[in-house]
Amino acid sequence: MRWVLALVVGFSFLAAAQTPLKRGMELRYSGEAKLQQGQQSITASVQVIDLVTEVAEKGQATVASLRVFQPQIPDRPIPPEAALRFLDIGVSGEEAMVPFEQVVAESPPFPFLANFLRVLPVYFVPLDRLQVGKEWVTKERLLLRPEVDGEVRYQVQGQEKVGDTACWLVTRSLPKPVPVPKMEGVQFAKIADSLWVNAQTGLVVRLKREGTLQLPQGVLTATIQLDLQSVNPLDEATFAQRLKELQAIKAVQQKLGINLLQNPTKEGLDAAENAIAEFQRQFKDSPYLAYLQTWLRIVQSVRQRLEQVEKQGAAIGQPAPDFELPTVDGKRKVKLSDLKGKVVVLNFFAHW
């Protein structure tokens, strides 16, 4: 099933000029995500670099964001089928939604993990809403493709510190499950977000999510925690440089494309690898290098798989190369060609 559960975007507050976000501001979050389905689970460390490219009236903002996933899958290469969708999404705001155009460049270890991760919709909460017991409901776009809009309820729970920072704890949840149309048996069963909002600025400094998606084959649970690491107002030159880098990354994305990873060709992989290398050459100091590195790893893993399949496919039907090796006790030697007429199973193994 190839489909894109795209992001949940937009903080849908009509917050009059209260946004702590400013054009040219860079926000970095980092944390960990865990995805579980049945017995299987995977964790990934996550870095998010968000760049505020535009702040419009009423506190609306356009954010270009890069999410860097560093999957921790011990002893397993990144499975290509899990590897990739590169999305380039421009979202226009609707109604209460914030116009949110982003260069979503993702390299998820698992598509669903990414889908849950992209759900970092809320960057700030207007200060006048931060009162105990305050509650509001907004209509937000939960998914882009297919389009899913659902009601989201915010509730201010009370004050709580994060480190030394005085914060308000705000929860974000779905009043009722939201079905995903055209996908039978799939629905957003639950989103339980906790947002710790800096009491002075309104910025979200910590986001914790537990989401469950009901799939035909079972329930998928994702837990994510992201902490705001830094907020840097960039100077004009740096800001311009970052925009240039994001454009370059978009160009790299186009080279990579989903088709390449699903139906890899040597030429396509070469082009992708060259594009990544070119970016690395051109933008040596870019904070997005780690992100490109993840892509490179995926491209290389796809290539390795492709080469292996080609090589092994080519071997089928060919005469088995002959060899002679000593037995484990060293007492005799076995020559493969002496076994002709029998079906031989070779089991290559290593024992360290």
């Binding site: 092994q312 089928i316 039907g317 000593p326 484990v328 031989v344 199973v345």
Partner: protein, 98 residues
Amino acid sequence: MEKDFWQAYKGKGVVVIGVAVWAEGDAFQRAREFVNKHKLTYTVLVDASEDGKVAQLYGVEGVPTNVVIGKDGKIRYLQAGFNEAGLKKAIEEALKAQ
């Protein structure tokens, strides 16, 4: 390997051969430990070359990799990882083929 393949097929004209590759240190000693530990009764050969010459011949890049060679001496199946059903099917087909 031992139970589901060697014991199951040895009476049917199938030879199972383990090929130990990429050992560190004393290749024979390491392979012996493995054989004893798992009580293997099928033939185990040792490729003591550092780069695994025989593995290279077959394009093996990871272990385990299983290869099925037909009665005619041609490769019928070659797959990395352990795919029990696929390996069984390949063996059955190889037995049926002339």
